[in-house]
């Protein structure tokens, strides 16, 4: 079961985890949820994305994980648009028979989403001003360790 969505609206990690837990044979479920932080006094993050490309890229990363680990289920939800501090940005959930594939695939997916999915963040201050977030070389390095 591979489920990938790119959406503006929020999501419920509990429902996503319950779906993964319910998969026949699932013994281990790993998840990661990303939350908008109030870094530098921002009030929101705006996520720009490339709609024609985003879903295809996220599906590509999902297919890589599914090919590399014996997963029973894999869920990726990535939001775009304007997200207030404290809101969820991204969810990755994985299910496998034993614990290791789920844990490793979850870490792999979130590392690769950061460098492969065409999203751009702009920090939004209370007065509406804001700056685009610069990419970090550390993210490329972290994704590359899976190669």
């Amino acid at each position: 079961m591979i489920r990938v969505t790119v959406q503006a609206q929020g999501f419920d990690p509990a429902a996503e985890l319950a779906a993964l837990e319910g998969l026949a044979g699932a013994g281990g479920i790993a998840s990661f949820t990303g939350i908008v932080r109030a870094d530098g006094g921002i009030s929101a993050l705006h996520l720009d994305h490339y709609p024609a490309m985003t879903l295809a890229q996220v599906e590509k990363v999902a297919a890589q994980a599914a090919a590399r680990w014996p997963l029973l289920g894999l869920t990726i939800i990535h939001r775009f648009g304007t997200l207030a501090v404290g809101e969820r940005i991204v969810f990755v959930g994985t299910a496998s028979v034993g614990r290791t594939p789920a844990l490793e695939a979850c870490a792999f997916l979130i590392d690769w989403l950061k460098v492969a999915a065409p999203f751009w963040k702009r920090e939004v201050h209370a007065d509406g001003s804001g700056d685009w977030v610069e990419a970090k070389a550390a993210d490329d390095a972290q994704a590359a360790r899976w190669s």
């Binding site: 490339y50 065409p118 751009w120 990419a135």
Partner: protein
């Protein structure tokens, strides 16, 4: 060969150009992305500002990431944008 090429821009590239999308005459299959950016930069101050620092630009041809020295070939859509900053938190 398509006779038009759609250009799409994201994040601060779009901000500097002042538009998210534009159509241009297809520069020909052998023309590289970099060469096209050079031409566009001559045409407006916004494009010049957006394309000034090539090390900070990334590209996709028909929704696949490619290096800037890639020939445009028969692609119909060229996207120009900064390195992505998605994934989890800032």
């Amino acid at each position: 060969m398509a006779d038009r090429l759609t250009l799409v821009y994201f994040a601060w590239v779009r901000d500097r150009i002042g538009a998210g999308e534009e159509r241009v005459a297809h520069p020909g299959a052998a023309c590289t992305i970099s060469a096209l950016l050079d031409q566009l930069a001559e045409g407006s101050a916004g494009h010049a500002a957006a394309f000034a620092d090539r090390a900070r630009l990334r590209a996709a041809l028909d929704q696949d990431y490619v290096p800037l020295d890639t020939p445009i070939g028969t692609a119909r859509e060229l996207a120009i944008f900064p390195p992505v900053t998605g994934g989890d938190t800032q």
